[in-house]
């Protein structure tokens, strides 16, 4: 995803002179093309995310479209007050781009895990929260974010994830869920980097005679409530799947909305990380297995729920 982000950024920078990239001393060589093409619009802000975020707000207040970028916990949680006060309170078009959603950097340990960021940023007024499902959605999200006149958070995986789409999805729009695969028996709402895993889960379900609709629910805020209303009416089982804490993420957002609007799901399963730090060494694949977020566990729990 991050290579698509860097490439898309370079492309967008050519047509939009307002676009400025602020990096938190990360992405060695990743932005070489952007730097070569737009040398006066790349700034390495160092390991100083509070300042980077404040600088971005100041730039946005002065007519630019800054993008802040580093590893997820550092570009979100470390500078949360700057995001809240400088960016969201001023309601300025800063795009916050995080690399390493959820357990992408599982092996680096809990300092580098990011399973609470959606909860934090979703709570902030004026903030849009986007969790693209593959590299093509990252490009679409960047384009959509740049067209906004408000703060946007884009939560990416890392690199080398399988591509789900064949091109930039033409019907990608902020706040509109994207159906990736049609199905009749269960609706799987995937957000962010879980999408390939959820498609694998759908394949296992298919082997077991279950037809799953797979949705890239890339916008966690604002929620596509029309889609949800429809999905809960149509499907006996709906599941939300995210590499994020069950507290405050997509599943929580859907639950809040459903409760507030008396939408009673027949059955709703939430997949996410538990209220605990994952302290074991090991890569993302291992962490997902341990936490029941791999395709096999997802499919198993869905099958059980379907009886």
């Amino acid at each position: 995803m991050r290579n698509a982000f860097a490439d898309e950024l370079t492309r967008l920078g050519a047509t939009d002179p307002r676009l400025v990239l602020l990096s938190g001393d990360i992405g060695n060589r990743l932005f070489d093309k952007f730097r070569a093409a737009h040398p006066d619009r790349f700034y390495n802000c160092g390991v100083a995310e509070q300042n980077m975020t404040g600088v971005a707000a100041g730039m946005a207040l002065s007519g630019l479209r800054p993008v802040t970028y580093t590893i997820t916990p550092f570009v979100t949680t470390r500078c949360l007050e700057q995001i809240r006060t400088d960016v969201c309170y001023h309601d300025v078009p800063v795009i916050i781009v995080a690399v390493g959603a959820g357990l992408s950097y599982a092996g680096l340990g809990p300092t580098h895990h990011a399973c609470e960021d959606v909860a934090f940023l979703r709570a902030l007024p004026n903030m849009v929260v986007l969790c693209p499902g593959d590299a093509w959605e990252v490009r679409a999200a960047m384009r959509a974010a740049l067209a906004q006149d408000r703060p946007v958070y884009i939560r990416m995986g890392k690199r080398g994830e399988p591509k789900v789409h064949a091109d930039v999805p033409a019907d990608f729009a902020i706040g509109r869920a994207l159906v990736v695969a049609e199905g009749q028996d269960v609706c799987l709402l995937s957000t962010g980097n879980m999408l390939p895993e959820v498609l694998s889960a759908a394949a296992i379900l298919r082997e077991n005679g279950i037809s799953a609709q797979v949705v890239s629910f890339h916008t966690v805020k604002p929620l596509d409530t029309d889609f949800l209303r429809h999905a809960f009416a149509r499907f006996g089982l709906v599941a939300s799947i995210e590499e994020h804490s069950l507290i405050g993420g997509l599943g929580a957002a859907i639950s809040e909305w459903a409760m507030d609007h008396a939408v009673v799901p027949r059955r709703f399963l939430r997949f996410g990380t538990p209220d605990a730090f994952f302290k074991q060494a090991g890569e993302q694949e291992y962490a997902r297995e341990q936490l029941g977020l791999d395709a096999r566990h997802i499919a198993g729990r869905v099958l059980k729920a379907l009886g």
Partner: protein
């Protein structure tokens, strides 16, 4: 539109009179609203007078002019002093000052975001104004707009790590159109600044962070105006003015008495203060 800075010498007498009027107004606002931070306001009135009546290229009729100088009150708790300044300078009617801290008014105890003409940034949480100002200055460079950014910080605000992040970044970027003024009144909310987190030697700290750091009498309006006018000053570095001030300046029984960080004056105390300020 915005005129070039006058080349004549600062009108010291006029600036002093403006500073006295600002002091009177913030004392009255604190009295009426029962609001805190009066002493913090009094220590920076001379700085505000110099900035808004002598230094900054601003036009109250065009508060969003992209070429305007930016003045950011990073010590947002001195909001009433900023409000009085902006009203007296013509950004909004003086009558608005009477609504300070009343239900439903625009003028809260800290400056709001994009709500009030002349307020460049919402501050109140310390350590935010300088990074925002540095971003503005960098935006000006990118966009080819030659404006200056002034950020007024409290000494207690220098406790915040984000101030020093911004200081290092501005120096690395050689943002010589940025000027920090530290209102060094030697007190923070509940204690002597230097006994809380050691600021001293403050000028040397800023200097060592890559700034052209200068000590100055923060109540000398002529000197303040001259130093602030001189930005960018040819050093190729951002400028830090360590302005030695007295908290509660201008009113004998408030000066250097930190109780006035929170206390609001009674009617009798207002009258006495007005007499001392020559406003009675």
């Amino acid at each position: 539109m915005i005129a070039e800075t006058t080349l004549s010498a600062p009108d010291v007498a006029g600036l002093k009179q403006i500073a006295a009027r600002l002091r009177g107004r913030v004392i009255m606002m604190s009295h009426k609203a029962g609001s805190a931070h009066l002493a913090s306001c009094l220590s920076c009135c001379d700085i505000l007078a110099a900035a808004y009546w002598d230094v900054c290229r601003i036009d109250p009729a065009h508060p969003d002019d992209p070429l305007r100088d930016r003045f950011i009150l990073s010590k947002g708790h001195a909001a009433s002093a900023l409000y009085a300044t902006l009203a007296y300078r013509g950004f909004f009617p003086e009558a608005l000052l009477d609504t300070y801290c009343t239900d439903g008014a625009l003028l809260a105890e800290h400056p709001p975001a994009r709500l009030l003409a002349g307020v460049e940034a919402a501050t109140g949480s310390l350590g935010h104004g300088l990074p925002i100002g540095v971003g503005m200055a960098l935006a000006g460079r990118i966009r080819g707009e030659r404006f200056r950014v002034y950020a007024l910080l409290s000494d207690g605000e220098n406790n915040e790590g984000s101030v020093w992040e911004a200081a290092m970044f501005a120096a690395a970027q050689k943002l010589d159109n940025v000027c920090v003024i530290v209102d060094y009144n030697k007190w923070q909310a509940t204690a002597r600044s230097n006994e809380t987190l050691q600021l001293a030697p403050l000028r040397e700290k800023w200097e060592s962070f890559g700034w052209d750091a200068q000590e100055i009498d923060g109540h000398d309006v002529g000197a303040l105006a001259a130093r602030m006018r001189a930005v960018p000053n040819g050093s190729g570095r951002p400028v830090a003015l360590i302005a030695h001030t007295v908290k509660g300046k201008g009113v004998s029984f408030m000066e250097d008495d930190n109780n006035w960080h929170y206390r609001a004056p009674t009617a009798e105390e207002v009258a006495q203060a007005y007499t001392e300020l020559g406003l009675a």
